[in-house]
Amino acid sequence: MSAATSHAAATSHGAVEPAESPLTPESWGKLGMWIFLAGDAVGFGTLLAAYGGMRATSGDWPSPYEVLGINLTAAMTFLLICSSVTMVKALEWLGKGDRGKAKMFLFFTALGGAIFVGCQAFEWTHLIERGLHINGNPWGASLFGTSFFIVTGFHGLHVTAGVIYLLANIAVVSRRPDPAASYNMVEITGLYWHFVDLVWIMVFTFMYLL
């Protein structure tokens, strides 16, 4: 077997990497995910900063928690927090070598994300029926509708991508007989999923409660 082939075989199993990453000695992938998340956080930060700027300078911005209602979104927030716990539990069980329990908790995490997206679709439908559109708002400033749909939609897309990512993880964990070979991958997926939870904490506070 040539050197290139053996290297490709080793890296494909996630066990050996060519050189140690300086910030995340476990893997380069983890550093890559952190850098991606930092970039993504700038995107969300920009959206929320623009929301704050528009709101501060608007004379007829509606009170979000009175218009949007927070009962459903509070439940959605709780659901995402629960899914973060199931995510860390999946990693914990994988570390202990129990693939079955790790897959079960990964599935619960994906299920929590899917229910979250379903609740968001329900909320959007309800608000659209009441007259809130991306270019119109019956309760005041039309930019309220624009910012609401863009920010929650951008986050919803992240959750949807996360659910697909988690399901792909379950498939990979099922294929690899050695739980240790999947640990790094699941840890990186966990970083993404917790970031989605973290962003929702900010979105819930700034767009629904304040």
């Binding site: 995340t24 952190w34 700038v42 969300f44 900063a49 300078t57 709780f78 966990g190 904490i201």
Partner: protein
């Protein structure tokens, strides 16, 4: 290195996050019962959100156990977003001020 550390008590973090979420919702409805300014409510909500986000990043994302440089990478977007608010606001208030000072159109003027 995150892989070498003892796992934190995840359930304790979960309980704290749940309690803080209930606290946030309580703060929103508190002005109905106790006189509180919007600024106070806003300050409380921001504090709750920052504590919750920090708990997720530190314990669930294991940032507490990572190198300081990685922590700096994670905190940079927060600093950029905060700076952006200060960049946007003067411009936005300038536009509002100009719009507010516009003289009303004279009666009978053509409307396009």
């Amino acid at each position: 290195m995150a892989g070498d550390h003892q796992h934190p008590n995840y359930m304790a973090i979960f309980y704290w996050l749940a309690i803080l979420t209930v606290g946030e919702i309580g703060v929103v409805f508190l002005p109905h019962y106790i006189p509180m300014s919007k600024l106070t409510v806003g300050a409380f909500l921001c504090a709750f959100a920052i504590v919750k986000a920090a708990m997720v990043a530190m314990y669930f994302m294991h940032l507490k156990f990572e190198t300081k440089t990685l922590g700096l990478i994670a905190v940079t977007p927060l600093a950029i977003a905060t700076l952006l608010v200060f960049v946007i606001l003067p411009d936005a208030f300038h536009v509002t001020h100009k719009t507010a000072n516009l003289k009303p159109a004279p009666e009978g003027a053509a409307k396009h």
